[in-house]
Amino acid sequence: MTRVKWSGGPVVWRWLAEAWAVTAKDLKAEFRTRVALSSLGLFALTTLIAVAYSVGPFRIATDDRPFLLAVLLWIVVFFAALAGLDRSFVKEEESHTAPLLRLSASPLVVWAGKLLFNVVLIAMLLLALVPLYCVLMGYRIVLVGWFVVLLAAGGYALAATSTIVAAIIARAVGRGALFPVLALPLLLALMVFLIQGTTAVAEGSVATVQASLRAIVSLGGVMTVVSAFLFPVVWND
């Protein structure tokens, strides 16, 4: 039998490699079953079509367009995210793979891997949804570069918040209903700043975008730090 060799090298590099292993495993499993992708995609598509059909590009007054279309965009994104971002943790518990993962990987590695997986899901959702939304709703963005930064920061903050909430609810009995109930209050502030920022990129107000971005990055940072401390307790106990 070949001798077992533990990985050497810098701790950070090993830690990243282990976290990436969790992400890669989740992505591979997800692309084979497409449970979370279908939930996210179908929810986003259904709401987008409903919004486009009922509101459309011409039913909102020009002055109200930047704000109202920003509200509608983030409502679609947030509710689609809530439909699928808890899957990675819930599935581990439902399919009884979590105990072995607990015994094999350190909690922070699992958290980082799951967070990265959720970031990838959100990125895919935003990449597919936002251009379609802009076309269907006739949403004209003035500051495209800032909009991309806003989407990236908002997507990360959304994934960070969803990941820790999903970890908390995964072992609860009524987890299906608990996820949105627990996540929404935490996500409300983020949603407000994202709407404010998106309105500003449509209006061309750089100062407002920067202020919103600072708040969004702060929220994402706070959620990341809090999650890193909270997750080992949630995961192990």
Binding site: K5, E18, L103, S106
Partner: protein, 277 residues
Amino acid sequence: MSRLAFGSSIFDFFPRGGLGGRRCSRDSCATKTPWAGGVFEFRISNFELPRTPYSLLPPSHDIFWPVAEGIRIEFSDVAKRFDERVVFRSVSGVADPGEVLAVTGPNGSGKSTLLTILCGLLRPTRGEVRYRSLGGGGEVARDEWKRVLGVVAPAMSLYEELDAMENLRFFERVRGLDPAEHRCRECLDQVGLDPSRRTPVGGFSTGMHQRLKIAQAMLHDPQVLFLDEPGSNLDPEGRDWLESWVRESVAGGKTVILATNDPREMEWGTRRVALAG
């Protein structure tokens, strides 16, 4: 000790059950000696010998050089209660390297719960569990337990969307092992699964599932093995292989904790904890 006579290459010098006991073969040797205040486990392999002066000895010479290794598990006054339901009130015991601690008891007596507590997945309501490295490393920190233990249990599943090799490669990476595909292949070969088979585990039979769980548990060559009904769903050939693997592991100085009600598996035990239920 006749139960642990594994064939002509292994000899037993002392009867088991007491403090003393020694087994050795041409390639490896384990001796357990009553020592002042405790039991020390020594193991030596010919290929691990330093070049001088011991390399002067012929390779097949049965020498006893104290290379201490192995993990001793001590648990005392362990109790577990889920809300109002008391699973067990006070369980104590020791599992030494080179031994099989058999946990027995009727259904619902808490065998699996005890194993879950001993491997660190569940905190006991009362009592404590300690892993001691007999190599002089002292107590093994709880964070390090995952490096030294392997678990096979009905309540632990593998990823059904991945195939057998993908599962093993995942656990290899996430445990912090150097990626080595040949080691995964060896483990699958050992348990009788085809490494080139690309069927997702969801399509496996229950027996194949069990074999893969065992392969996963042996992947990092752990010093402690927790086996909860390891023979369940295995065919007679698989059970024979399982027995030989457990005996080899014990001979190699591993600590094995086994929860079972199977009379054949109970026979592997060198110590027993019987839960009343």
